[in-house]
Amino acid sequence: MRHLFQNPVLRWLMRNPIWGFVLIVFIFFSLSSDHFFDARNFQNILVQTSTIGLIALGMTLVMINGNIDLSVGATLALAAAFAVDVQSWAMFATWGNWQILPAVCLALLVGIAMGAINGFIVWKTGVDAFIVTLGAMLGIRGLVFVYTGEQSFYAMNFAYSDFSAFSVGPLPVLALIFLLCVLAVHWLLSRTVHGRNTYAVGGNREAAVNAGIRVGPHMMINFMIIGFLAALSGVLLSTQMGAATPNLGRDYELWVITAVVLGGTKLTGGKGDIIGTLGGVLAIGILRNGMNLMQVPAFYVYVILGSILIAVLFLDKRFNTSTDGGLRL
């Protein structure tokens, strides 16, 4: 039995239990549903996962910092509204399909700006990120309603709503963008000074300050990254729908946090990685997709996901006794 645990694959799974879970649900649905194990369905899962997944990448950085961002759903809606609306501004009327470019750029800038506001307030006031972004969640949603006047916007340019139908080889373009972002953020977190600082700030803020890391601007950059990713997610979601509604992205912050925590990132900061987060979002994506294919009412997915979240927390507490599970706000 002992030599089993020398096996590198098994040892890796022990360290990343969420991937074991992904494997189990994957095998389960492959055996029990006729339509699950199918290249088209895998493409679907990746596209469905990309919306939550993109934000989860940013949330991983912010949570490793020991912060949290509850405003991502609202930021997503604001960016989507800008992306769809700006295209139809009169000043871009003669630009043809190029009118999409300033719209998307502006939407992404708005996302970065929202993140910068959150980050700046956290930095300068020293108020906890939970409170700052809870306020921003309400406030940015208010901005969405002010901007849209409670209306939905529809993309008049079909090149915009056709974008999500493109594929690059076997990969849908939305899935490709998501996977590229996974690689980029993984590289940022594991190979750069900024990534090392992210762990340092979350692990021991005092020590990070003493080591000469400028903690305030550092945290602000991570908030800008999550703002950018939330905006990107909003743009991609609006290409899928060809529209932006003011209530887009409600409750997404809860799904994202669920995915990131499933992936093993600690709320206390200092611990977590992108590989785990990818496992977390895939676990949720596969569960929702598979249960959908098996015609389980969507209601049960909520119960099962909630139970899994609590079970993971319980198992983590049982087996990783060295880590403190306490809330640090």
């Binding site: 700052v132 309400l138 406030g139 940015i140 002010v146 049960y300 909520y302 979240l309 306490g326």
Partner: protein, 322 residues
């Protein structure tokens, strides 16, 4: 003026009260309907549901934990009491619903108090799970009470005693009772101790697990009472009626100056936070603003209120972080 006196001037400690008065004066100058007795009564009545829930959440937060599941729990309790009203009658529906809701609170309390799991994640999971339970129970259908005029159940949301609407009386009475419990009784001191310093509280012989468990039971009880008011007022329920309430409630609690670190906070100041949010909403609508402008104002008010609080404690306005 970046350096404040250590401990802060007295006025900074009462930031919420000052802001409250400023807002009241500003609104009453801008709208002549604002300060009428009718309007004030209707604001009180509207704030009762969030207010009752905020009382329970304040106690949980003083104990050093969070409760994000109150929104789903409100959906659960309201759907249950409205649905059972026509099936087994209100005199049975109310106790059954209260018991069921207390069971949910007990699950929270068991996982967080006894097993010591992280409260944010547990109640986040419960938020999702309870929402699922509601949908399974109702089959995705909305529920309502058929005979709306003939039932005495109407008294909780629509009735009045001595000319004061029942929701206000329930809200006021609960606030007073729990304020007295939290400030004068041993249980209140224990909750403060557990939230302020868990380790020290265990060394002084306080049953930490049981105290935390109790705070979640109280929170569930408050949700059940809020559900009675809501169900009786609407005489029906959508199955996601409480969606988003958890964060509005938390916003009111934070505005009232209760520290998310635990150990400090007060029920009466939470009531002030609830009323302030309700008056901001009401005042902006009376001024002819669309309802969503209140969210923008709430954003600014929450951050400035907590900022002043934090600044007064550390004795300087800006954070010393580089």
């Amino acid at each position: 003026m970046t350096r404040l006196k250590a401990g802060g001037p007295a006025i900074a400690k009462q930031g919420i009260l000052v802001a409250f008065i400023v807002f009241m004066i500003a609104f009453s100058l801008m709208s002549d309907r604002f300060l009428s007795a009718d309007n004030i009564m209707s604001v009180f009545r509207q704030s009762a549901i969030i207010g009752v829930m905020a009382i329970g959440v304040t106690i949980v937060v003083i104990g050093g934990n969070l409760d994000l599941s109150v929104g789903s729990m409100l959906s659960f309790a309201t759907v249950l009491v409205v649905d059972l009203h026509d099936k087994i009658g209100p005199e049975l529906a109310i106790p059954v619903m209260v018991l069921a809701t207390l069971c949910l609170g007990a699950i929270n309390g068991f996982l967080i108090g006894i097993l010591r799991l992280n409260s944010l994640i547990v109640t986040l999971g419960m938020l999702s799970a309870i929402q699922g339970l509601v949908l399974i129970y109702s089959g995705g259908q909305n529920v309502d009470i058929v005979d709306q005029r003939g039932t005495w159940f109407a008294i909780f949301g629509r009735g009045a005693v001595f000319g004061i609407a029942t929701p206000i009386i329930i809200f006021g009475a609960l606030a007073l009772i729990f304020h007295v419990i939290m400030t004068t009784m041993p249980f209140g001191r224990r909750v403060h101790a557990v939230g302020g310093n868990p380790t020290a509280s265990v060394f002084s012989g306080i049953p930490r697990s049981r105290v935390v468990f109790m705070t979640y039971l109280i929170s569930a009880l408050c949700v059940a009472i809020a559900a009675i008011i809501l169900g009786s007022r609407v005489m029906g329920s959508q199955n996601n009626v409480g969606q988003g309430y958890e964060l509005q409630v938390l916003a009111a609690v934070i505005l009232g100056g209760t520290s998310l670190l635990g150990g400090s906070g007060s029920i009466l100041r939470t009531v002030l936070g609830v009323l302030m949010l309700a008056f901001i909403q009401n005042g902006l609508i009376l001024m002819g603003q669309p309802y969503y402008t209140q969210w923008l104002v709430t954003w600014a008010v929450i951050i400035v209120a907590v900022w002043l609080d934090v600044a007064a404690k550390r004795g300087r306005l800006f954070s010393p972080i580089a």
